[in-house]
């Protein structure tokens, strides 16, 4: 794996490039889009493992941190959805240049799936959505519910004087500009990725699946969805800090992308 910075020299993004480790390289390169906030910390290892698995079967893979997240430039309070869409396009271009490949597959997890699905101008062949956030509004509401439930590991020891603010969500800054832009995300009305094939892998049932299917059909994309029994626990306060160690879904993603080579 090669760590590097790319993009604007004033506000560089951190990338981790996994070159293909198989003798025969695949035709497409895979861009991984990470979740945000606490879920980014929980899933770092999962996406690193997925990148290793894809690299071992011959894919060029790039993981990266959005502006204001992980090792990338910017403060945690500075990101917006518009900015993160730009970052995805920038990372996709970087990966295609690095790999010399023409075809791009994008895998997004949680908020990363929502961002990838709503990024326009991304020439994607395969789009994989792993436990995707469908509605930014519902997602923020759910995180706020967990935050307000005062999970033991989050709240102060003697339950005194947490600053009352809506600008902080589960340990990360969440200013109004970020919240407003994220709440606008809606895969049912704002799906703009022009992928030819769309695959959903989910650890739980998705209520909006029929509506999503219609959206994808209208765009002329092929679509498949698999509900797989694997770790998620996204809405459980007790699992907030647990590192996510899934196996079945990453394996299914690798198999699906290999079968489409």
């Amino acid at each position: 794996m090669n760590p590097f910075y790319f993009g604007s020299s004033k506000e560089p993004l951190f990338g981790a490039y996994h070159p293909p480790m198989a003798q025969e390289a695949m035709n497409s390169a895979v861009l991984l889009c990470q979740p945000l906030g606490l879920e980014y910390l929980r899933t770092h290892w999962s996406l690193r493992r997925l990148a290793d698995m894809l690299s071992r079967v011959g894919f060029h893979v790039l993981r990266f941190d959005y502006f204001g997240t992980g090792d990338s430039a910017g403060q945690s309070s500075e990101g917006t959805v518009e900015r993160w869409h730009n970052d995805i396009r920038c990372a996709a271009n970087e990966l295609l240049e690095l790999s010399g490949r023409r075809f791009l597959a994008v895998v997004g997890l949680r908020a990363g799936a929502a961002l990838a699905a709503t990024t326009d101008g991304l020439d994607t062949k395969d789009l994989v959505l792993w436990d995707p956030i469908i509605s930014g509004h519902s997602y923020v509401k759910e995180l706020r519910r967990i935050h307000d439930s005062r999970p033991g590991s989050y709240y102060r020891v003697h339950h005194q004087s947490i600053p009352k603010t809506n600008h902080e969500l589960l340990g990360f800054p969440f200013p109004p500009t970020m919240q407003d832009s994220f709440e606008q995300i809606d895969l049912l009305s704002g799906f703009t990725n022009n992928a030819e094939n769309i695959l959903i892998f989910s650890s739980r049932t998705i209520e909006e699946l029929p509506q999503l299917q219609k959206v994808f059909q209208m765009r002329g994309a092929t679509f498949a969805c698999e509900i797989i029994d694997d770790i998620g626990d996204w809405d459980k306060p007790s699992k907030l800090y647990d590192t996510l160690l899934p196996n079945a879904i990453p394996t299914a993603i690798v198999n699906a992308l290999v079968s489409r080579k």
């Binding site: 760590p3 910390l41 770092h44 290892w45 992980g70 430039a73 003697h158 600053p163």
Partner: protein, 287 residues
Amino acid sequence: MMIMEHAYAFGSSAQLVGILTDATPSLSSKGLPIILLLNAGLKHRVGPFRLHVDLARELSGLGFPVFRFDLSGMGDSNNHKDKRSREEQILSDIQEAMDFLSSRKGIHNFVVMGLCTGADNAHKISVRDKRISGAVFLDGYCYPTAGFYLRKYISGNFRYVPKLFNPVAWWRFIKKISIKLTSDTYATSVHDKREENYYWTLPPKQKTETELKLLVARGVRLLYVFSDGFISNYKDQFVTSFKDVDFGNQIQVEFFRDSKHLYPIIADRKRLIGVISDWLQTNFLKT
């Protein structure tokens, strides 16, 4: 202010990954140590809630270069394929980081910093490697005292205030404390199951005391910051538990009443970064 950060793969087979945040050029001066940030539990190098990134950028603005990196098998770093003990692997990872930075920056002294298991590793490398001139321990080694048990008991039984007026309850409490203090059974392991799912072992107190004396004799500057209730529950617990060590002016101990182990509240993280910045300036910038 533009922050210069560089990503590196380093180590004997480039198996380790780290980010160097350069000191702000106008402030950088010879003789300042490089700050090494170690993994906290299983979290990768950005730290809990991105603490290490915020800290690195703040300290670089004071003139300190800062290196955050992943130990082997953690974050983006690969596993070692040898049969050394995990402790040996970790200590050699930290030494490889120092070797790499020395050859790159020409700096040969370091301040090591870690939270939880990071503090455990920071203690061990400080004892082993003389290039360490300062160490910051966030919830580092601390041993129970009578005051610790008293506060724990009162806090844990606050709902049962009437117990305070019950002589039988007091007798049970004193008996419990006496057994714990004499058997030292408490000081065997710290299990941060809720927050980290991670174990680390508190070494025998006598060993730690001897090692602290060694660090003091070597002139190593020490900052201990304790959150509330993880391993310490009052400010003087650390000093009380090491009454026989003469720390002179080489130590500073801070207790963050009400703060949780991983500093999830933004205001607590800001305060923590402020304390570390002040300590570094006092001990390294002004000498």
